[in-house]
């Protein structure tokens, strides 16, 4: 029988995959993908908990996470656009004028 833990473990794995993506990505666009993966992982967890506790709060949370993800994408892409216009690249290795 599939229990709450199963879903949560899947969620944990996907979350870690997302984290790995965040860590290894050098292209900002693809880095954003990884953050989406992480948020999706959390969504699975919320939906699962909500289901097993028979409680709607989890779904609410997941719903808001989707909204947040959407807004983030909008703002993030906006920033990426101005950045791209200025630098002509999305590689974050080229983006280290401030350090120390």
């Amino acid at each position: 029988m599939i229990g709450l833990s199963h879903y949560l473990i899947v969620s944990a794995l996907i979350f870690s995959i997302g984290l790995m993506g965040v860590l290894r990505r050098r292209n900002l666009l693809m880095l954003f993908f990884a953050t989406e993966v992480m948020l999706n992982a959390v969504n699975i967890a919320f939906a699962a908990i909500s289901h097993y506790y028979n409680d709607l709060t989890g779904q609410m949370f997941a719903f808001f996470i989707i909204a947040i993800a959407a807004s983030e994408v909008a703002v993030g892409l906006g920033i990426l656009i101005v950045l791209y216009k200025k630098h002509g690249t999305l590689d974050l290795d080229d983006l280290a004028s401030m350090k120390g």
């Binding site: 709450l4 949560l8 969620s11 979350f15 997302g18 965040v22 900002l28 880095l31 954003f32 953050t35 992480m38 948020l39 992982a41 959390v42 967890a45 919320f46 908990i49 506790y53 409680d55 709060t57 989890g58 609410m60 949370f61 808001f64 996470i65 909204a67 947040i68 807004s71 983030e72 703002v75 993030g76 906006g78 920033i79 990426l80 101005v82 950045l83 200025k86 630098h87 974050l92 983006l95 004028s97 401030m98 350090k99 120390g100």
Partner: protein, 496 residues
Amino acid sequence: MLQPINVSLESLNLITLAPMLIAIAGGLVILVLDLISEKLHKSLYVMLTILILVIDFGATLGLNVNERGFFDVMLIDGISIISQLMIIVGSIIFIPLALTSKRFHEYSYPEFFALFLFMIAGFQFMVASDNLILIFVGLETASLSLYTLIALHNRANSYEAAVKYFTMGALAAAFFAMGSAVVYALTGSVELYKVAEVMATRLNETGIMIAIFGSAVLLLVAFSFKLSLFPFHTWAPDVYEGASAPLAGYMSVVPKIAAFVVSIRIFGMYIDLGVEWVRVTILVLAVLTMTLANIMALVQEDVKRMLAYSSISHAGFIMAALALDTTEGTTAIFLYYALFMFTNLGAFAMLWISRHKNRRFDKRFDHPYEKFAGFIHIMPVGAVIMGLFMLSLAGVPPFSVFWGKIYVMQAAVNSGYIWLAIVMGLNSAIAAYYYLKLIVYMFLMDPVKDVDTIYYNLSKPLMAVIGMATLATVGAIFYIQPLISYLYYMISASGY
């Protein structure tokens, strides 16, 4: 079938929403004004913003302590009121910095002011709730606005800063979400008062401690990022450097106040439940933060970047007070920020007036130390005032930050953390070096270049702002008493 829901308007306690709604409405008004006429000067928007914030302030002041509203989503307790007040005051004193004598990119957008007000609303939501969902949404609203405001400065550095802040913020948001999920899994609730209740019953269950710790850690990561605790602070110096000086100063105070309030609610809960591990972890992070940020600040060549590290260090200082989880400790947090706010405002304002489009002293930095060499000869009053701010930041009595500092240290001593007080003391001594370095440049060196552009952007409103900051910094001793008693009353009234 579901029963129709009857909700009486009184039970919603809509007044609890009033402050945020004022800010939002204000933002919308500005947007509408912009639609009507495009030719409006920034001073109009600045004054409008201030007015709106003043109304906001009044509305907040009128709130009753310990009320809930809107299906208990809104929580108006002592700390939510004082933190809202501080957020508003902080915003009021920072926004006039837009009134420079020279024009800057971001202030030519009316949207800047709208976003600014939306951001304030976001912060207010954040502090006025114990529901993780609303906290999250408020946080993101504020953060997204802030990213945009940073980017609007329209320089390569500010884009870079915005990207860094944004990306790391996204990661932190993921951690926050995951942490909330674990909390939810543990307690079936995302409302902190309920969470505390349920968690208290579950503390003794075997094998569950890992999840409790884990939830705390995930949330701690998210807030450590916001509060720029080591090792999640890496964004801060770069963002401060990339952002305009007013915004950097603003960021070192207002968002942190909001984040601290949420941290008090969340981690205070853990500590109250008896999860000592959280306290220890926070203390370790706090000590690491204040120390490492201090020693990194030592070697900075740019004043703004130095101030960034110094704000990180100050945040570590305050985080330690949070870990004490006593009424005094919590009072110390607010007192510290209330005092730090003015000094920091002054310091960043002094940087702001000297901002020049071209970097005449250094290829990379706007405000290298050399720029201030011999400031005393160029602008004696300015140098003295800047010196006062630096001394205040260094914790030299009787200037404002000193009182915050001893209050924090006293709180530490009172809770038996004498070692912590000593660490704080030693850190203050280290910190004195880099503040002193600026004083040394200003007072003891000769100007590198014969330049009078050092107060390039100075205008009457800015002078007024700086003068006010100076008064607040120097005269701290006279208003500490009412401030402490008000804060203490509000905080103890809300049970912290």
